[in-house]
Symmetry: C2
Subunit: 208 residues, 2 copies
DNA sequence: GCAGAATATGAGCGATCACTCGTGTTCGCT
DNA sequence: AGCGAACACGAGTGATCGCTCATATTCTGC
């Protein structure tokens, strides 16, 4: 009847009531991802556990992928805050100390919601509309490269583009792996300090 | 009727005919994973494309996971060969040269079947019986640690366990990311050499 | 208080999934 | 040649999936 898309591109929430519906759907999706895994996170189950009808779910999200993407975006927003504040702090510090600040922030960021982070990293198929995970890393390269440019007088002569790739990839892998697969490395403050010390040494040694 | 498990734990292939069936199933699974992705790799589709009945598939594999696990194992076997031969070569070389050998091998290993490697890394949910992916990395830590022990006179005083974690995780992440997300880094011999140079510098600088 | 827009509902459809089992075919062995 | 074991077959079952749409309820502006 109406020529407006009946169910397809989905409408945007405008009233307070519908915004609450959207929120509870995203939150429930995150909870199910953590508690039951990606496979069991069907739209029917999400709607049921959210206390929202399946019809309402499809009023705001075109499908499961969109729900998961919303969860990812929300999680990234958190990580982004930590990253931005660390970069701000590091920019006024000498290189060695700045790198340590950034490494510490990387560990912190991975500890925000480790169980969700793990699911996003290990169970979400990076395919279709979910493959933009990579663009997030690109932005990190760019931000770190800008940091290096501002401290280029403290570095050996390097290709900053390449150096950013090496540093960001290594730190991300080390913190990610430590948090998710080697919990012993964060068991106490001493272990945590050792991890940060070693990672900082790796990066500073490479850059200078 | 028979008290032997009728269809459950599945039998092992003994005749040449059935071994061929198993082989074509694994091969087809790998092909579908690469060409259509993990989601579309259903047991029905695998059997159909392999030219094997769905019943035969279930005679040898308890389910989709087992098929995928077999593909992973086969791929790992290939990687393992490269790793072993590189470690053998490196063990008789001085540290800087040995590390370079190992880094080169890491890049080589990632280039064996990059499309399959990508699918295994990005689309396979590491859950259930598929989570043993990590034990593979553990073995790499151990092998590299043994290498470091044999060259400990060339190193600064370090915790070899921790150093192995740092080195293996970094090199793996750098080569993985370069091969899968930054193809420009392997476009020509010069770029490839640069990547290997930088990675080697990172590791050697850290160890000495 | 009322009209129309926004929001919410859920039974149910068609597709696909993993997997079974009764039956037919081929093999190894004597 | 003949027998039992190994192997292969595929229609069919029940569960679950993503998703639709006709209908009901609630909100907003006047």
């Amino acid at each position: 009847m109406a020529r407006k898309p009946l169910t397809n591109p989905r409408k945007q929430a405008s009233q307070a009531r519908s915004r609450a519906t959207v929120d509870v759907l995203i939150e429930t999706t995150a909870r199910i991802l953590v508690r039951e895994g990606f496979d069991r996170a069907s739209t029917n189950r999400i709607a049921e556990q959210a206390g929202v009808s399946i019809g309402s779910l499809y009023q705001y999200f075109p499908g499961k992928d969109a729900l998961v993407a919303a969860v990812i975006d929300r999680h990234r927003e958190e990580l982004g805050k930590v990253a931005r504040s660390a970069l701000l702090k590091a920019s006024t510090q000498p290189l060695r100390q700045g790198i340590r600040t950034l490494v510490t922030a990387a560990v912190e960021a991975h500890r925000i919601d480790p169980r969700l982070h793990r699911v996003l990293a290990e169970q979400i198929p990076r395919t279709g509309r979910l493959e933009k995970v990579e663009t997030f890393s690109r932005r990190n390269y760019a931000l770190f490269k800008a940091y290096l440019e501002r401290h280029s007088d403290e570095l050996r002569t390097v290709d900053l583009e390449l150096a950013s790739f090496v540093c960001v990839t290594s730190v991300e892998a080390l913190t990610h792996s430590a948090v998710l697969h080697n919990p012993a490395m964060l068991a106490d403050d001493a272990a945590l300090k050792t991890l940060i010390d070693e990672t900082t040494r790796l990066i500073v040694g490479y850059l200078q």
